[in-house]
């Protein structure tokens, strides 16, 4: 082992000092709670009585719980819907916003705006937008002679309604795309143009491959965010109608803070973790086929 110079030791000490706020926070609010969540998932505890160890009881219960499977199905449906629609729609928007046009800044601000205000006000707004009789969307549909669906009031249309709302608030995705588009070297387009490539060829053979890592990033993070999002759903539908919008996050919330079944809630939260890992792993294995990296 080499001797550590006093200078390096001093730098290391300073490093630990500077990092300490995060390090303490990591132990108190991330690592500690994670360990606690493992222990808790093997217990039955309603906060009042003393916790009792039930081994794999919560896990066995989970696998036999039809509501749990239903929530997984809803979560995946919502995730697929919001990512598929969000990632393609915002890509088109980002392409448009990347054009050297006048009022570019204004257009960008307008499309980013919803994601800044998202929160409870958004939830209340969209409850009304999706209202079967008075809502904006059905009014628009009615004006072209279409009888709109019941949206949040109907079993089949509740999740599509929530997906629409999620696309409206996808401004962050647009910003990330814009950053990616600006990173594509101009010379590639010039070379393609010299080769006689038209607009579509340039888009398909330059923009898409060069953007594929960014698209991939948006798909992965979009899925993770969608799998974990439920706060707006909690406010808007409370999981209903029936269990149509009972996503996994909401089910966890309900078990923990409505039924005070803390152990089962911890078990369910590990299921969410596994779901996130599985979906991300699938993404990465598919990525080999379509994501193009310039430098391997």
């Amino acid at each position: 082992m080499t001797a550590v110079s006093p200078l390096a030791r001093r730098e290391a000490r300073r490093f630990h000092l500077f990092v300490s706020p995060w390090l303490i926070g990591f132990v108190l609010f991330s690592a500690g709670p994670i360990v606690a969540a493992v222990v808790l998932s093997f217990m039955k505890w309603n906060l009042l009585q003393t916790p009792s160890w039930i081994g794999f009881g919560n896990y066995a219960r989970m696998f036999n719980d039809p509501e749990f499977w239903e929530s997984i199905e809803n979560t995946v449906q919502y995730g697929l819907g919001s990512v598929a629609l969000g990632v393609t729609f915002t890509f088109v928007l980002a392409l448009l916003l990347n054009q050297p046009l006048r009022f570019q800044g204004l257009f960008r601000t307008v499309m980013y705006l919803p994601s800044v205000v998202s929160g409870l006000a958004t939830a209340l707004l969209w409850i009304n937008i999706l209202h079967p009789d008075y809502g904006l969307i059905n009014k628009l549909l009615a004006s072209v002679g279409i009888d709109g669906p019941g949206w949040l009031a109907s079993q089949e249309w509740a999740i599509p309604g929530l997906v629409l709302m999620s696309v409206w608030g996808a401004g962050n995705t647009i910003v990330i795309y814009l950053a990616g588009l600006q990173g594509i070297p101009k010379t590639l387009y010039e070379a393609a143009e010299i080769d006689g490539a038209g607009w579509w060829r340039r888009f398909w053979n330059v923009t898409v491959p060069m953007m594929s890592p960014v698209i991939f990033f948006n798909v992965v993070t979009g899925f993770i965010a969608a799998l974990q999002s439920y706060v707006l759903i909690l406010v808007m539908t409370e999981g209903g109608p029936g269990n149509a919008t009972m996503v996994l996050g909401l089910y966890i919330y309900r078990q923990a803070f409505v039924y005070f079944d803390m152990g089962y809630a911890a078990t369910l939260s590990w299921a969410m973790f596994v779901l996130v890992i599985i979906v991300t792993a699938i993404q990465f294995s598919l990525a080999r086929r379509w994501v193009h990296y310039e430098f391997k």
């Binding site: 630990h16 500077f18 808790l40 800044v116 707004l125 010299i194 960014v214 973790f273």
Partner: protein
């Protein structure tokens, strides 16, 4: 190599039918097409806000008219006053929200700048492991820690106080630290060395060299932190119980529960609750977008 480039133009000359006049016309058509698409999609994005505004100005009767109408017959600005000063103390909620948001933002800034600087510019043996741990915390669903944290804070007797919402904010947020660290690494080492030679301490370098250069990143973090805390609903509902302590977001939730049919007042109050965010966003917009583009949220 030379041969190749020389051969290219001959092989792939643009089609002979295109004169520069025609090319210009095509370009112009394409540009107006882009404008049309942009205007339509902007309208789609703005429509909900506009609708919110018109709804907030309708009379109670218009609001429930069937078939529903688009525009109010007369403007009822008093909805704003009625909604805000009705049965719920929204001014109180606003002050609470401001207090929590301000404390949290201050906490975030202090506790993220220091570790970010250390991760970017200092060497230590444990640095690598710690950085991996930092990245890992960004990927773990917060649901996992939600229940144990709730138990911990309720054992500490912190339920129905601001402590569970504010104290953790003073212990760093992984995403913000990561962002700032990315930004700090782009700042030239010579600047830091020069300051060191002048005898500046690390804190001094951070304060007078790094932070001024990192303004866009700081702006981005301030905005994220502001918006996040202002809109925070879940944790607020978990920890804040009594009427005089709750925040705007919770107040809005109660409002919608109380008056299901008074959309006009509800939209008025919802718009008012968004106002500070809109103002801050307009002020910070430019710096913010630059910060996001530069700090590599783009995943490269």
């Amino acid at each position: 190599m030379l041969l190749e480039t020389a051969a290219r133009p001959a092989r792939t000359k643009p089609g002979p039918s295109l004169t520069s006049d025609q090319a210009e016309r095509i370009r112009r058509i394409r540009r107006s097409g882009a404008y049309v698409l942009l205007i339509i999609s902007s309208a789609v994005f703005l429509l909900p806000f506009l609708w919110m505004l018109t709804t907030s100005l309708k009379s109670d009767a218009d609001n429930l008219a069937f078939p529903p109408q688009w525009l109010p017959d007369s403007f009822h600005v008093e909805n704003y006053v009625k909604g805000w000063t009705g049965s719920l103390p929204f001014t109180r909620f606003l002050l609470n929200t401001i207090l929590i948001t301000a404390l949290s933002m201050a906490g975030n800034l202090i506790s993220c700048v220091l570790p970010a600087y250390a991760f970017a510019r200092m060497r230590a043996r444990a640095a690598g492991i710690m950085f991996t741990a930092l990245l890992a915390t960004m990927m773990i669903p917060r649901e996992i820690t939600l229940v144990p944290k709730f138990i911990m804070f309720s054992k500490l007797g912190w339920v129905d106080t601001y402590l569970p919402l504010v104290v953790p904010e003073f212990f760093g947020v992984a995403l913000y630290i990561f962002l700032l660290r990315q930004f700090f690494t782009t700042i030239p080492q010579e600047l830091i060395d020069a300051a060191r030679i002048d005898g500046a301490s690390e804190l001094r370098i951070l304060w007078s060299v790094m932070l001024p250069l990192a303004k866009p990143a700081i702006a981005a973090i301030c905005l994220f932190s502001f918006v996040g805390n202002w809109n925070q609903y879940l944790e607020n509902t978990l920890y804040l119980r009594s009427m005089e302590k709750i925040t705007l977001a919770q107040g809005l939730g109660m409002f919608s529960g109380q008056y299901v049919t008074q959309y006009n007042q509800m939209m008025a109050v919802a718009l008012l609750s968004m106002l500070p965010i809109l103002v801050v966003f307009f002020l910070a917009q430019k710096t913010f977008i630059r910060g996001v583009t530069l700090t590599g949220i783009a995943g490269r």
